[in-house]
Subunit: 373 residues, 2 copies
């Protein structure tokens, strides 16, 4: 095994693939990147229990191959070497049975290989139903839904993101029971029938390696796995089995009032009003609509004290004084997922779910369930 590759090309592909390396591997080989050198291309592959990422780099002026072979190298160190190198090209050679030499400029690195036989077998077959979507829409869907899934829910399906096609509509939803985020996209064409639950963590990982191009991502969905392909990358995730709850019924349609806020203003207000509470999902803040049409946001920490902050909304459909309490973190996550400068919170009552939407966040709705405080 012997190849010479342009440093920048190698780095960007290693960066992509490394997202699938295990951080805390049970075996060292799980933290490895498998390099498979064929006559006309090299393949880089990493995998953990949830996902696998493969990059295939064909021979070009930036890659020359002298001899073929397969090795597994510790991914973190391989990435570090290439990242810190100032050389234009990097030469990788199998030196002895279990040793690889990497020559980059004035650096000569000798690296012990990991056991190729122990590297997991990764099935990247595309033998399911196909769906194509452009990168920008896919990134939007992930950003706007995945955060609302449960972290370690007893109900496994709630740690996932449900995607369902119906005619020319793709509807994507995530919920942990206390919040919900739902987005749909209308396609110009009829879609194949799909109903699938992606692990939300896998979608977050996928999002990290999707760039901002207008490329198309092909998604191939079979019973236990989904395979995403774009550019020279193949990304595979396992799927979650089970029935996702029907969430249509819980989204309210009748509201006591709709309040429109400036997004930056609301973010800064919440930031200050939560000063004394812990920065996690269990911390509660209160929102009250006053008789004068202003909104009071407040929180209390019995030990330290309390913060009250007045915010003047842009508009308020009905001035009906009421008060509600909810997770500080959930409101902040929700606002961050909205891209509009003006956001609308629609209330149904003091302890009933409220709905968040944004003027320019098309086909997108979020819901937060208040708590009793």
């Amino acid at each position: 095994m012997n190849f010479v590759i342009n440093r920048d090309l190698f780095l960007s592909n290693l960066n992509d693939v490394s997202k699938a390396m295990s951080n805390k591997p049970q075996q060292p080989v799980a933290a490895g990147i498998k390099i498979d050198v064929k006559e006309d291309s090299i393949s880089l592959l990493a995998t953990n229990s949830e996902i696998a990422i493969q990059a295939i780099i064909p021979i070009t002026a930036q890659l020359s191959i002298e001899s073929t072979g397969t090795v597994v190298l510790p991914g973190k160190y391989l990435l570090d070497i290439v990242k810190k190198s100032e050389a234009k090209d990097i030469k990788v050679t199998k030196f002895e049975t279990n040793v690889v030499k990497i020559i980059a400029g004035r650096s000569e690195v000798t690296m012990n290989t990991l056991d190729v036989e122990a590297f997991p077998i990764v099935n990247l077959d595309r033998n399911g139903v196909e769906l194509s979507i452009d990168v920008l829409n896919l990134k939007q869907i992930i950003k706007k839904t995945a955060f609302a899934a449960g972290n370690q829910d007893e109900q496994l399906v709630l740690t996932g993101v449900n995607a369902v096609t119906n005619g020319n509509k793709l509807e994507v939803v995530a919920t942990d029971r206390y919040r919900l985020a739902k987005k749909h996209i209308i396609f110009p064409n009829e879609l194949e029938k799909i109903s699938v639950i992606f692990p939300s963590k896998s979608l977050d990982d996928l999002n990290k390696i999707l760039d901002d191009s207008e490329d198309i991502v092909n998604i191939n969905i079979s019973s236990a796995k989904a395979v995403f392909t774009f550019k020279n990358i193949t990304f595979r995730t396992r799927l979650i089995k089970g029935a996702f709850p029907n969430t249509d019924a819980i989204i309210p349609h009748d509201f006591i009032t709709k309040i429109k806020f400036n997004k930056a203003d609301l973010m800064a207000t919440i930031d200050r009003a939560s000063l004394f509470v812990a920065q996690d999902a269990t911390s509660i803040i209160k929102l009250a609509l006053n008789k004068d049409g202003n909104v009071l946001i407040s929180s209390v920490n019995n030990e330290i004290g309390s913060v009250e902050e007045i915010i003047k909304p842009i508009s308020c459909s009905d001035i009906i004084p009421f008060q509600t309490a909810f997770s500080y973190r959930y409101l902040l996550d929700s606002i961050k997922a909205l891209d509009s400068n003006e956001i609308i919170i629609s209330f149904t009552g003091e302890i009933k779910p409220f709905v968040l939407t944004g003027e320019y966040d098309i086909n997108y709705i979020q819901l937060i369930v208040p708590v009793r405080a």
Copy 2:
């Protein structure tokens, strides 16, 4: 107690004083900032077991005082409130016996006070020997010496930085036995006799609040404490008692070779050559002078592999092939403390201390003791 203060003025003074708050206080009051409102000024004070910092802000257009009094508030939260506020002015009022109200723009914060009686008594008396030095020189001294002190040495004096005056010379030195950094400054005037050991951590804290102005810092040194005053700030540290070892004898004067490096080049080389070793003081790298006048820097991790990197020095006084091994971290710290673009390492032998100097680092010498590898 009732005062109104400009937000930026309050923030910069709270920031300075907060460096003396305890991070992990045994009592809540130790994490507090004491605010003492007099008729013509307010004083902010924080202290931990090592240092105390006081800021005195006189009445100006930016501070008006309505009534006097003293409170202790949780420092971290007070700082956060002022930091996050967008208001121009901040009003602080004692509301009930143990409650303070802070009004900043549309925010109204109610804060429980801490026990004033439990706040430590801080002696800031200036009843010792005086030394005056400009901020830039003081910052240089601290940056170039404090890092070389021991962390938790059995010999307490070695966790400190020794400052000694002799005629018009101030000599400052720190060592943990395995490295040493020594700087002296020549004053235009005769200095009072001083021999004192500052805790190195205290000097690091002091450095954080010294700005880049050309102000003068007055240092008042008595038997158990030193009091630094500059601008409206008073900084007090305890001193370490004991006899600091005489370090003159261990600095070598005869060298087998002197090698001059480009600083950035050497830093990048060490960075790459240490890729496989842990980023701490116990990690060893090797340096060898080759027959061709090039220098080979290398490290080995038995599990992962090894890195060898060639660096071409700017010049080398004598090409005598030799090899030495030392702490990777110590070399890096030492290079960082040098401000010159070109640095000179002077070797005395394979396992004898070597000396680091910089072309533009006047009156400054560092020494590192190699290890057997």
